[in-house]
């Protein structure tokens, strides 16, 4: 891996150069909400931000996407697949928690069954990560899940703010390609600089979660879930803003003669999420639904995919939950429970 530097004042030139070749996507503010969206030029990109409200998973697994359209002509049905992308994309400004969330989603959309829509978007998108400001926002707790907000793991290029310049870590070939679009902006570092220009270490409250899975699994029947679920309103905010939540629904919109098949986000917090045609609902109350969410994050997902926990500590759910549900507190509560075997 190669380390270079980029003057902060040159960032926009580089991004605008990229925008000439690819679709440029960055955190940009619209009606007070920061989300990752395509931009015409670097001027629309917010560089000073904690993190986006809607996680960048939406770029790979959109809130709503058309899978194909259908037309019935006589007895024939014509299907037309929707192309997920028309050109290669470059995402600027993604945080490392969100990069790591993509590696978790890769299991879901790639391990057992390959989801072509997701896969194509992943393959044709380069990630320019932006290391988090130090100190990061106070609610963040990614380090608890072993994520280093300054790491370049999983991205193609990483920029780290060290004052007037960004340190530029070029991680992959894709990343090299992007840097080579404006080679002259990226001088190497002198030995002195390499020593002096160091990111400030991140201090974050960190919880030992090595026993989390075991502890949560012992709590399946516990009364805890009832009481803790009382403030939950059953909206979908926590799941929609979560970079690792990935439930979806597939719905045909139109008539029997023509229409489109859409995939859209769904939420296990909705009362009708597990409802079956018979009328039976295996998760009839908030208690079962919220338990499901935490179980999925801390037990079901890791056991199914042999991965780590399905939470990256981005704190979005905690910040936006209208019921004041704080995942950090839930984790503490779970860890504080005596496990049954003891």
């Amino acid at each position: 891996m190669e380390r270079k530097k980029l003057q902060k004042s040159d960032l926009s030139r580089w991004l605008d150069r990229i925008a000439q070749e690819h679709e440029l996507i960055g955190p940009s503010e619209d009606d007070g909400v920061i989300r990752f969206q395509p931009v015409e030029s670097s001027a629309e990109i917010a560089v000073e931000f904690a993190n986006s409200l809607i996680p960048p998973k939406s770029l790979f697994f959109p809130a709503v996407e058309s899978l194909f359209s259908f037309h019935k002509r006589g007895k024939d049905i014509e299907l037309e697949a929707t192309e997920p992308l028309d050109r290669d994309r470059v995402v600027f400004g993604i945080r490392n928690c969100d990069v790591q969330s993509l590696s978790l989603l890769d299991y879901v959309f790639g391990q057992d069954l390959e989801d072509v829509y997701y896969q194509e978007r992943r393959a044709r998108t380069a990630l320019i990560a932006l290391a988090c400001p130090t100190p990061p926002r106070s609610s963040c707790f990614c380090t608890t899940f072993g994520i280093d907000p300054l790491s370049s793991d999983g991205s193609d290029v990483l920029l780290t703010d060290v004052g007037d310049v960004y340190l530029v870590d070029v991680v992959t070939e894709k990343g090299e390609g992007l840097v080579s679009l404006a080679e002259d902006l990226f001088p190497g570092l002198t030995d002195d600089e390499a020593r002096q220009l160091q990111p400030r270490p991140v201090e974050m409250k960190k919880v030992d979660i090595s026993q989390l899975r075991e502890k949560v699994e012992a709590l399946w029947e516990d009364e805890y879930w009832h009481k803790m679920s009382l403030p939950c309103l059953g909206c979908g905010i926590c799941t929609y803003v979560c970079p690792t939540c990935h439930c979806f629904d597939i719905v045909d919109v139109g008539s029997t003669l023509e229409g489109e098949r859409y995939r859209c986000w769904d939420s296990c917090m909705y009362s009708d999420f597990a409802l079956m045609a018979s009328g039976e609902n295996p998760r009839p109350t908030k208690r079962e639904r919220i338990r499901n969410r935490y179980f999925h994050k801390f037990s079901t997902f890791p056991s199914r995919y042999g991965s780590g926990y399905a939470c990256v500590g981005c704190a979005r759910c905690l910040i936006h939950c209208p019921g004041g549900m704080e995942i950090t507190e839930v984790i503490k509560d779970i860890l504080a429970k005596e496990s049954i075997s003891e």
Binding site: A50, R137, S138, L230, G236, I237, V253, Y262, P322
Partner: protein, 319 residues
Amino acid sequence: MQDRLHDIVRKLLGEGTIEYFIGYGAGSEPHRVVPCFVTSDHEVERLVWGPLCLQNLSKYVLQAKDLEGKAGVLVKGCDTRAIVELLKQHQIEREEVVVIGVACQGQVDPRTLEEVLGVPMEQVQGVEDAGDQFVVTIGEDERTVAKEQVLLGKCLYCRHPSAFEYDFTLGEIVPFSIDAGESEFAMVEELERLSVEERRAFWQKQFARCIRCNACREVCYACYCKECIFDRKMPRWLDKPPLLSENEIYHLIRAVHLAGRCIDCRECERVCPMNLPLSRLYKKVQKDIAELFDYEAGIELDEVPPLVSFELDDQDPFM
């Protein structure tokens, strides 16, 4: 006031009058105040009262119907309107709930406070009420800010800051009012002055931004239907994908369902993660209901809601 709150709740729990109390509690960070369900004596200390107690807790009274006993709840003046409506709409019985009313002195809008102070909420350690201003603690510093600068939009026009339907109060009822300088419907009138195309452009942009997380519905005291029209499968009223047409249907139908019931608590707007200007829609609903039928929701217990009644001499432009 907080002490008196603790005393009352302790007594209610101790006597077994209530099974739990729904109040405000400190979140894991000082600027975050969260709904707090207290079931036992040792949790009572968690209850707080101050200018960051934003939620309308009346919504939670609905789920307390499942209890064998009663629940207690803390309400501000504006929240009382939800209690009145829930009684009027036969959703709760008055004896099922113990209401502790408080004389609210205005609540802080965190988004506005961040803007006015230029400091993110996460650095705010506390906000105290001090007459016509708030004292905000940021690190070692204390900064004062005039109330009218940072109040929630609804507080600027509040006509009922003190709870008016209650079993207990937290001390004296202290009047509170702010001269907002313009009409409470100014934000509606501003849109009404635009052309129909401009209004369409405005709302289509907003409806397109909605991700249909349903938080605005779930937080609304009036959305208690056992099966919401939007969740019905047969017949299906709404397709699930958040397409513009579906989002528009969602918001307009909800607006119609709230006609004569919206109490201007603005919880829908406050919780919307996408920052949709929902109060501009619901203020319109309130304005039309007031102008057409001279009715305001959540004030009088025995007033008949306007869309389930009529007058023979209602205006009639449809001849």
